[in-house]
Symmetry: C2
Subunit: 518 residues, 2 copies
């Protein structure tokens, strides 16, 4: 009766090769690594020698360090951030703004080039490749914002799981799911799933722009490498599209409803957890707010220094409120700081957001912060600065759970007004509570779901039954344009034959009549 | 701190209004009703007075009986089945076969018309409608193979959950998920997700046929009713498309991978459960098979009588095998029946399929039987007769887990050959075991998942965040054809302006030269 025994036990000795992306992406990846480790899997992390965040030693993973200069250029990036903020503030002309956008894109593809150089060195390092082969990993787990892990999994012939929100092809869905431009807004477009004609035109043009970006930046960056190592019949996009499982840092609390695919698993909020008690000092400060409650403010890890006039205005606005304020602020102490405001170098964000006294969260709009605010049901005041932040906050704004300010025009008055609106207009809190309820009402915790599917891929050596290979078709084939052209040609042909037959019949009838007449 | 309390308890006192479809559809619905009842929900079933299967009294639900003639015409249907089988057997000419297809479609739309007449009587019955309003149901649960439940939920303004595989618009995905014809085969087409050009042409033509069916049969049936009761701006398709959750009796073990939507929940195999011990007599018979094992055969509830020559051939083939055979057979005892074959009026299908001695399942290809075979990992010999059966078995055939015979040509020799192939060629069993492993390896049981989402809709009074309203767009808008035409017009216009400007410049240069010359 051998065929009655199902071996569905978890792969306890599973071996996972992780190829991470640095910066905030690593913070996310670490959550998954720690959970995998706690379930008995063995994790190996490939890290570049010049990484910013990724430590070589950890109780949760082994690491292999690759000599490279592909890591995160911390100082250059900070300078870029400070300059961008300054220019936004000073109302730089359109041309300057566009050149900043271009500079950012170039920076992104420069990092990609560095990654590819590193990958070349890895592929040429016979000893390293042999050891990676011999290790017999069950799966490669990577963030495809850079292509390194995708290329490596293909080289090693291993199943591939993505921890993803963006790929080098743009927002992750765009790479594998049908995305009708009529109701799926292109990222960064500040459009919703309900668009009037002019908005649909705008969305279409945004789409064309993303295609140009792929043709002119992604293509020249990746194509030569992939052709060199995998042959000229392999398209680099296909290597991404062939991934077994896409663990999306997204869901439909945050994203507008849209088509999806069987191998997309939504895990938004996987990093969220119940709050722990605060330290004695912080708890005392929070409790001292009484019925007014607390405002929490932080602008993430990248932006530590806002322009000074902005911090002064923010401090002055806070000072006029009866609430207590906890503000993660690294720069100079603003002069108009009120007694109600506590400046901290670092704050326990999750524990504060989960505290019953917290009323409003002032944030920059990184995905992690927004997810934690949704999880804890705290309405937001948004001060988005760059990247996907304005676009993330746009989604919160249209759901009525955040008031968003523009860094270019924020001042004491409109900041104070925004705070008061979110504090005292109950709809913000109520709608955020509804979002939070919806987010929490899942049959399975997002992190458990993510781990299940990583383990699924390990158990079954992939998940081919969940992914289409439609990406192998050309756009003409995919959209059945060749078929429609063929059927049209057949119809035209039949019509012509019909016309010809009618003419011929008429003619022969005519000539027979003529014959008769004669 | 009121905003910290999440009320995510199950709706224990939930009230569910069920509008079922008769026949085998009811068997499926009953599984869900019983589970909902066991979780403390109160279920009310609307049943027509002339129903075939739906009993008025049950420990699991209350019922409201509607006087109608919309029920299942059992006798007429049996006659139809017998005639169809006979004609297939006799090799009826194409024209006769097509007329059978047409007759079946007409029959289907006649049943739909009967349902609509019943719905009209319900809508006009002020007392009944008032009592349905007053009952304050939380959700309507229906099978949209007929439109009654969909119309009622709209009339009552209640959230809607579908237990679905087919709608009046065809296979359920076609109604709400993008279904690119290049890799999503139209149902009944016997095509896979990998098609060469000629197959894609075939698939496109199948698609056109389904559109014709909608235009010429579904449209005239439903449009007048919907316009009369809901206004001429309401399209009946939208009422289906607006459903909150689609519980699909399908999954990607059975179906080819394809785009899906956030509000589609796959629950294939929800009716499957571990086998229970057999009766003493049956167990003794099964054990007497020794190492050879047992063959189980049943052709479902509708087809009790195969043509006599077929049953004779089948019996003769069974008689030549060393296996024991358990055959659900209602007709005359075939004369060449071997000692190894046990005829039964009814057999405990699930318990037999789950028995370690069972080697092969001979079936007609109803979804339930195939799902149970997958669940228990038993390879199949297929004798599909009508409806979706050939198409269901096609999916099993391309996966290498079933050998399929044509009822028109089946005889003793090819039946015996098919049995031997599935019995002795190990790949059938191995591949079926793999399918079974994949099917069972889910984070949550299909039935639990189905119940979760029904309760979710009750808790949140719908699931609007999971469904698009893209179906409200015209096909031109949906596919951005208007936008592309507009952009093309703009490009043409710009080009013409450019040409005009060049001409104008040349002309003025020419004339200025002329002036100079002069």
């Amino acid at each position: 009766v051998h065929h009655k025994k199902w071996d569905l036990s978890l792969v306890n000795g599973g071996k996972v090769l992780v190829f991470p992306v640095d910066g905030s992406h690593w913070i996310n990846m670490k959550v998954i690594i720690e959970e995998l480790h706690s379930r008995g899997h063995e994790i190996t992390v490939l890290r570049p020698s010049d990484t910013w965040y990724i430590k070589p030693e950890s109780p949760h993973y082994k690491s292999i360090t690759i000599n490279s200069s592909a890591g995160f250029n911390e100082e250059g990036f900070r300078l870029f951030v400070i300059n961008t903020l300054k220019m936004q503030r000073e109302g730089a002309p359109l041309w300057t703004r566009l050149s900043i956008e271009y500079e950012l894109l170039s920076l992104f593809y420069q990092i990609n080039k560095d990654v590819l150089q590193m990958m070349g060195e890895i592929f040429e390092n016979t000893k390293l490749m042999q050891s990676l082969h011999d290790a017999k990993y069950d799966v490669v787990l990577t963030d495809p914002a850079m292509g390194g892990g995708v290329l490596l999994s293909h080289r090693l012939g291993l199943p591939l799981v993505l921890n993803v929100r963006w790929t080098i092809l743009g927002e992750a869905h765009q790479a594998i799911a049908p995305s009708p431009l009529s109701y799926v807004p292109i990222s960064f477009s500040k459009l919703t799933d309900k668009m009037i004609f002019s908005q649909r035109v705008k969305n279409f043009m945004y789409y064309l722009f993303t295609r140009f970006q792929i043709w002119f930046m992604a293509d020249p960056t990746y194509k030569p490498f992939v052709h060199h190592y995998f042959g000229s019949d392999v398209h680099y996009m296909e290597l991404f599209q062939a991934a077994d499982i896409w663990l999306m840092r997204n869901d439909f609390i945050f994203e507008f409803p849209r088509p999806t695919m069987p191998n997309i698993i939504y895990m938004s909020g996987f990093q969220c957890k119940p709050s722990k008690p605060l330290s004695k000092e912080l708890e005392d400060f929070v409790q001292s707010s009484g019925e007014h409650g607390v405002i929490v403010m932080t602008l993430g890890t990248l932006v530590e220094k806002l322009p000074e006039d902005v911090t002064e205005d923010i401090a002055a606005a806070f000072a006029q409120l009866p609430q207590k304020v906890i503000w993660r602020h690294a720069g100079k102490r603003p002069s108009p700081l009120g007694n109600n405001t506590l400046l901290l170098d670092w704050l326990p964000q999750n524990d504060l957001l989960g505290h019953p006294k917290t009323r409003v969260f002032v944030a920059h709009g990184g995905t992690n912060g927004i997810q934690e605010a949704i999880y804890h049901g705290i309405p937001m005041v948004g001060l988005p600065l760059m990247f996907d932040q304005p676009y993330n906050f746009f989604r919160m704004e249209v759901r009525g759970v955040a008031k968003v300010l523009d860094i270019a025009t924020v001042n004491k008055d409109n900041f104070l007004e925004a705070l008061k609106e979110v504090l005292y207009e109950p709809s913000y809190r109520e709608k955020m509570k509804t979002l939070s309820n919806l987010h929490r009402d899942q049959p399975m915790k997002p992190l458990d779901r993510a781990i299940f599917w990583i383990e699924f891929v390990m158990r079954h050596k992939g998940a081919p039954h969940l992914r289409t290979e439609s990406y192998k078709m050309s756009a003409f084939q995919y959209h059945s344009i060749d078929v429609m052209a063929f059927l049209l040609a057949v119809i035209v042909l039949l019509f012509m034959v019909f016309i010809f037959a009618v003419k011929f019949l008429r003619q022969s009838m005519f000539s027979s009549r003529k014959v008769k007449k004669e």
